[in-house]
Assembly symmetry: C2
DNA sequence: GTCTATATTCAGATAGAC
DNA sequence: GTCTATCTGAATATAGAC
C-alpha cells in the first residue's frame, strides 16, 4: 500500500497509518498507567478522537492491540541495552554506556518502561513467550560477556546475573517509580539533574565493585 | 465484639473475622497479579468460596476493599524498613541489616510488594496521600540518618536520597520481577540461595561505595 | 473508513426474604 | 450473615448503512 504511486491512495494510507500510530501511542500511555484490565477501548478511543468501533476496525480486539503495544515496547527496550556487546574490549566504558543507556531509556520512554513493568509484575501472562525468546537471550548474552571479562581477569568475579538484575532494577526504577521518587526528591517531575545524579551513583557503585584496576574517574 | 464473653457471640465473631481475613488475603494475591482494574469481586469471592454479595456485606465497595488491602500492605512494608534507625551508631551493620530486611520482605511477602508496585507504577492514584504521609517521612528519616553519618565522617558523602532509591529498587525487584528473574536464573522459583546471592552482591556494592574504612568482611 | 444501532456479557451495587 | 433476585451501567464486539 505504501508504495502505490496514486497520490490519493498514498494520502489515505498515510492518514490510516497516522491514526494507527496515534492509537498505539495513546494505548501505551493508558496501559502504562492502569494496566491491561484498567483501560477500556472507549477510553483509548476518546483519547484519539475516534469511536471504539473505529478502533476495532484497526485492531481486531483489545488483546491484539495490547500485544501490538507490548511488541513495540520490547523493540524500544531492547534497542537501549546492547551497550555491553558494543564495547567488548573495555569493561569500564561498556558498563558506563550501558548504565547511561538504560537511564536514557527511563527518561525518554517512561511509558514503555511502565507497560513492560506492569506486564512483568503480573507474571507476564500474555507476553511470557516473547520475553523468553527475545529478552532473556539478550540478557544472557550480557551475562556471558561479563563472565568472560571475569575469566580474563578484567573484572572481579562477581555474579554476572545478579549484577545485571541490579542494573535494570536501579535504572528502570526512575521510570516505573517516578511518582514516589518525585515525592522523595521533593519535586513535581524528575529532571536532567536527577538522572545524572542517579547515573553518577550507579556508575560509582558498579565500577568500585567490579573493576580490578582503579577506574579513571570516580568521586573521591 | 472480640471481648464479649458469651461463647456463641465470640464464635460468630471469630468466623466473621476469619472470613474477612480470607477475603483480604485472596484480594491481595489477585490485586498483586492483575492490578485493581484487572480483578472482579466475583473473582475474589469465588476464591474464598463466598458470593460477591456476601463480600459486599464485609466491605462496602471494591475500592474500599482495595484500600484496606493497601493499608495492610503498607504496614508490612514499613515494618521491614526501620533498620537504619535501629543502629544509628554503626553504618556498616545498619546497612547490612537494612538490605537483609528488605530482601526478607521480598521473599516473605512478594504479594505485598507487588500490590505496592502496581499502585506506584500507576502513579498511586488512590493511595498517594497515605504514601506521602507514611512512606515518605520514613524514607526521609533514613536519608537524614545517612546524611548524618556522612557529616560525621563515618560515610563517604554520596547522595543519600539516590542511595535509598537504589536500595529499594535492587531489593524489591526480587519480588516484583520474580517471573523474569526466574527465567534469567533458569529456575521455576527463586530459592534461598538466590536471595543470599543477591544480598552478598548488594551489600558488597553498597559497603564498597559508602564506607570510609575497609568493611569487616567483603569478597576479595 | 466511519457511522448508527445493537447484541451480549459482565461488572459493581442494592433490596428484601430467610 | 447469607441467599435469591434484580437494577444499572459499562464493557467487548458485531452488523449493516453510508
Amino acid at each position: 500500500m505504501k508504495k502505490v504511486s496514486g497520490s490519493k491512495t498514498v494520502k489515505v494510507s498515510e492518514a490510516r497509518e497516522r491514526l494507527e500510530q496515534d492509537i498505539l501511542t495513546a494505548a501505551k500511555r493508558l496501559f502504562a498507567q492502569r494496566g491491561f484490565g484498567g483501560v477500556s477501548l472507549d477510553h483509548i478511543a476518546r483519547e484519539v478522537g475516534a469511536s471504539k468501533q473505529n478502533l476495532l476496525y484497526y485492531f481486531p480486539s483489545k488483546e491484539e492491540l495490547y500485544r501490538r503495544v507490548l511488541h513495540g515496547v520490547l523493540d524500544v527496550w531492547l534497542s537501549y541495552m546492547d551497550a555491553l556487546s558494543q564495547r567488548q574490549d573495555d569493561p569500564e566504558q561498556a558498563l558506563r554506556e550501558y548504565i547511561a543507556g538504560k537511564l536514557r531509556f527511563s527518561r525518554e520512554h517512561p511509558d514503555d518502561s511502565r507497560v513492560y513493568a506492569n506486564e512483568v509484575v503480573s507474571g507476564a501472562p500474555i507476553f511470557s513467550d516473547e520475553i523468553a525468546e527475545r529478552v532473556i537471550p539478550a540478557l544472557q548474552a550480557d551475562v556471558a560477556i561479563f563472565n568472560r571479562w571475569a575469566e580474563q581477569g578484567l573484572c572481579r568475579p562477581v555474579d554476572g546475573r545478579h549484577l545485571m538484575i541490579l542494573l535494570w532494577a536501579s535504572t528502570q526504577v526512575y521510570a516505573d517509580w517516578a511518582s514516589q521518587i518525585s515525592l522523595v526528591l521533593g519535586k513535581k517531575k524528575l529532571g536532567a539533574e536527577d538522572f545524572s545524579a542517579a547515573e553518577s551513583l550507579i556508575v560509582d557503585m558498579v565500577l568500585r565493585t567490579v573493576l580490578v584496576t582503579s577506574p579513571t574517574t570516580l568521586t573521591k
